[in-house]
């Protein structure tokens, strides 16, 4: 197993290098000028000699290869470079805002299991019943509703009916759990409901396949209770694709936070990413994209490792 993990980690390195090249090049060919953005309406006053000096200060006048290598060195030192505009390092930003985003994503994935798996089970066990149709209607509905719209609606309803708005600022769970929950719950529910629709559909289709297998019929023939048949035998075997999907969806959840945090005005990494794009803060954008890629790769690795635990037939050598 450890050899397998090492092998996967080594294979992740070229993938991550590929990500760095893609994001670096994309940002440089993207239209827009960070120096102009820095000075806003004053930008029309920048003299060429001032622009040259400012670009040099920001490291933008160096050849692209030098800029890229400098970034790789920053990654190597673990500081990830400094925000173009602020004195803080990107690590500071991640430490400050990351916990909130991770919390939202974890809450959303848990919610998606809590809602999606039971709905999927009921839908599979009562196939083509009214309950199944109802469940399928809602899963399609939650798949179709864009998160930013649902988020905006929730914010509006809370505000206009109850004069309520979530607290402001970065409030971590260890600082003030009640306020933290007010901050994280809205985005987590919006993201969780969307993801639960995927989970419900996957649970339903996996279970429908499994419950027709011979060993399920055998379990029932042995006189096992239906609950045991479904939960112990069918669901465990149906869980592999659900786990795989959850891993993929966790990645989507992280990207989903970009939109939903903006809608709820939650100062997580997603919102930081949006702000960085608006301000063309290359240092922040490229490091956050890299971070999301690392998280995605790590989660996929963990999922692969979890297969062996869930299905004893799977062994990594």
């Amino acid at each position: 197993m450890s050899k397998y993990v090492l092998w996967r980690v080594l294979h992740a390195i070229p993938a991550l290098l590929g990500v760095t090249v893609i994001i670096f090049v994309s940002l440089r060919i993207m239209p827009g000028d960070p120096v102009s953005i820095m000075f806003g309406t004053q930008a029309t006053k920048i003299r060429p000699e001032d622009r040259a000096k400012i670009e040099a200060d920001l490291g933008l006048s160096a050849p692209l290869t030098v800029q890229y290598i400098t970034w790789l060195k920053d990654i190597g030192t673990g500081k990830l470079g400094k925000s173009f505009w602020r004195g803080d390092t990107v690590v500071d930003l991640i430490v400050q805002r990351g916990p909130l985003t991770v919390e939202i994503a974890v809450m959303a994935i848990i919610l998606s299991w809590v809602v999606g798996i039971p709905v999927g089970i009921l839908s599979a066990l009562r196939q083509n019943s009214a309950l199944d149709y109802l469940a399928r209607f809602f899963t399609v509905l939650f798949l179709a509703i864009p998160g930013f719209w649902l988020g905006a609606m929730i914010v509006l309803v809370l505000l206009l009916w109850w004069d309520y708005a979530p607290p402001l600022g970065v409030i971590n769970i260890w600082d003030d759990p009640a306020k933290n929950l007010q901050l994280a719950l809205g985005p987590a529910v919006v993201l969780g409901l969307a993801v639960s629709a995927y989970i419900a559909r996957m649970t339903r289709s996996s279970l429908l396949e499994i419950i027709r297998e011979d060993y399920i019929r055998t379990a029932r023939a042995k006189g096992l209770r239906e609950q045991a048949v479904v939960l112990k035998h069918a669901l465990r075997n149906a869980s592999l694709p659900i786990i795989t999907l959850s891993g993929v969806l966790f990645g989507f959840l992280l990207s989903g936070t970009v939109v939903v945090e903006q809608a709820f005005n939650v100062p997580g990494l997603g919102k930081a990413m949006v702000e960085a794009f608006v301000m063309l803060d290359y240092a922040v954008i490229q490091n956050l994209v890299l971070l999301y890629s690392v998280v995605f790769i790590v989660i996929n690795l963990l999922i692969d490792v979890s297969y062996a635990w869930l299905d004893p037939r799977i062994r990594y050598v």
Binding site: P31, T44, I46, A56, V155, L168, N265
Partner: protein, 551 residues
């Protein structure tokens, strides 16, 4: 579309009339007196209470931290309370400039030397004493920035040839020619006094320095960039009475519904830049108050005068005659309220008189059949009787610009057969394209620092002015701008303005049709805001030292 004027615009005009009366003396007062410190500042209300932390919400996410290099509210809100100015606009009586770090000053008979006498015992937040050298270094930073350092207000002090420390606590500003608005310029909220040592240690560039010592009523406590800056009371502030608050928390909120929501839900006490829907709701909530602020920021249609067809004044005049400015202002009332403006801005004391004269004249009124016929005649004379095709209409991706641009496009096509292609660009792209003259037409707006026509015209219309990226140049007009800057006698200033307006009406370098209105709101517990909520105080009312909270 409703014809102008309507109720909302009339109400706006009434507010502006009151506003203009209030500021009547601002640009007119000749700076020949020798004011003395009239006493220390305090709250406008009796019995102000000490204590409490004010929660302020609004645009507060800046791309740089150097107050001398910036020009936006995003810096003023979170940073202004940490710094003092040499002189300041009276937060209670907006038309007066009163002492700040300078306890008094004298002005020579010829108006060429201003001598400021600094307070004794003022300390920076790091404990260092304030000296005249700090004031000199601060203004050298503004007046003579080194390469790579931008100074947006440099033009405001174009007549200052040097700033000299003539004693440990005495500073002289030496001018090449008089400037009627110099004190007002010095009092602009961005021109804070920084520490000489800080400037020197950072090569006079504090863009990426989130915290640097000031002498202001509040000092830095913590910063979560892009989220909140927390300030705490400066216990060593030179005015022993101030500040009243224990601290301020300045939350960054995007202007519009998000700021409005925070105010309606009372997660903040004071909100800057709410949307009109929130404004209407706030007006129905007991304990919540609203007001509208009028920044000096002309918006309109800008031509690229460096190339055809807009190098031909006849084409510009024709367009000016058919663009219905009143309709454009009305179109964005719900998303970004505006009031009409022209070659004089609504915050100028002479605006009402100016507007009274021009509002029914061709080019300013909504187009009539006569105006349309004249516009078509001008186009024919210019050789464009069949219209124009393929013009590049560059526009920034701001909501109200995006609302305006198709209306203007339609007006041009319908009235003059001018066909344009709208090109929407992110702000960074827009500025790049504008600087490269890579556009034919654009919707644009800029902010001026003081409510004086010299600042407005100098920045936007003078040859080589800071915002003159589109190529307008008229030596006769430049001479008038220079004269308005020198003039402090109201009658003469008015005569010069009339000459300038005549040239602009003839040349039509751009079509300025409005300035924005910023709706604000605050809860009952917030007191002492003085003129900060009385329509006009924009850059100057953000230091919050006389604000207090009713518990």
């Amino acid at each position: 579309m409703k014809p102008w004027p309507n109720v909302s615009v009339l109400a706006g005009s009434l507010a502006l009339l009151m506003l203009s009366l209030a500021v009547l003396c601002v640009s007119a007062a000749p700076p020949t007196s020798a004011p003395a410190d009239a006493g220390l500042l305090g709250a406008p209300e009796p019995n102000p209470k000490r204590g409490g932390v004010l929660k302020w919400g609004g645009l507060a996410n800046s791309t740089l931290y150097d107050l001398h290099q910036t020009g936006t509210i995003a810096n003023m809100g979170p940073q202004a309370p940490m710094y003092d100015l040499l002189v300041q606009v009276d937060p209670v009586h907006w038309d007066k400039v009163i002492p700040d770090l300078a306890k008094s000053w004298t002005i020579s008979e010829d108006g060429l030397t201003y001598t400021f006498y600094l307070r004794e015992g003022v300390k920076f937040h790091d404990g260092a004493p304030l000296t005249a050298e700090d004031v000199v270094a601060s203004f050298n930073h503004i007046l003579f920035p080194p390469p790579g350092v931008l100074s947006p207000r440099q033009g405001l002090f174009d007549a200052v040839k040097e700033v000299v420390a003539t004693g440990p606590l005495t500073v002289e500003f030496r001018l090449t020619e008089p400037r009627g608005y110099l004190l007002r310029g010095l009092a602009a909220g961005f021109n804070v006094i920084m520490r000489k040592q800080t400037l020197e240690e950072n090569n006079y560039d504090l863009r990426r320095l989130p915290v640097y010592p000031g002498t202001g009523p509040f000092r830095h406590k913590s910063l979560e960039a892009g989220v909140v800056r927390k300030l705490e009371r400066n216990p060593d502030y030179w005015n022993p009475v101030l500040p009243y608050l224990d601290g301020i928390e300045i939350y960054h909120l995007e202007p519009g519904p998000k700021t409005g929501a925070a105010c309606l839900a009372h997660t903040v006490d004071f909100c800057w830049g709410i949307d009109t829907i929130s404004e209407q709701k706030a007006q129905k909530i007991r304990g919540l108050h609203t007001a509208r602020i009028y920044p000096h920021a002309p918006h309109g249609l800008w031509f690229n005068l460096k190339k055809k067809p807009f190098d031909d004044v006849r084409v510009r005049r024709a367009i000016n005659l058919v663009v219905d400015k009143a309709a454009l202002v009305e179109a964005t009332q719900e998303i970004f309220p505006q009031v009409r403006a022209g070659w004089v801005l609504p915050t100028d004391p002479l605006f009402q008189e100016y507007w009274g004269k021009v509002q029914e004249q061709p080019g300013w009124r909504s187009p009539t059949a006569e105006d349309r016929a004249e516009a078509r005649r001008l186009m024919q004379e210019a050789g464009y009787e069949n219209g124009l095709k393929g013009l590049d209409f560059l526009v920034r991706d701001l909501a109200f610009y995006l609302a305006w641009v198709p209306i203007v496009q339609d007006m041009l096509k319908r009235e003059l057969k001018i066909e344009t292609t709208i090109r929407v660009a992110a702000s960074g792209v827009w500025w790049e394209e504008a600087q490269r003259s890579n556009f034919d037409l654009s919707i644009y707006g800029y902010g001026t620092t003081i409510p004086h026509v010299a600042d407005y015209w100098n920045a936007g219309f003078k040859t080589g002015g800071g915002y003159n990226f589109y190529g307008y140049s008229n030596p006769a007009f430049d001479a008038i701008v220079a004269a308005t800057a020198r003039e402090s006698e109201p009658t003469k200033l008015k005569a010069l303005m009339a000459q300038g307006i005549e040239i602009l009406d003839r040349d039509i370098p751009a079509i300025a049709w409005s300035t924005p209105v910023v709706p604000i709101a605050w809860w009952d517990n917030v007191k002492g805001h003085g003129t900060a909520t009385k329509s006009i105080n924009f850059w100057e009312g953000m230091r919050d030292e006389i604000w207090w909270l009713e518990k």
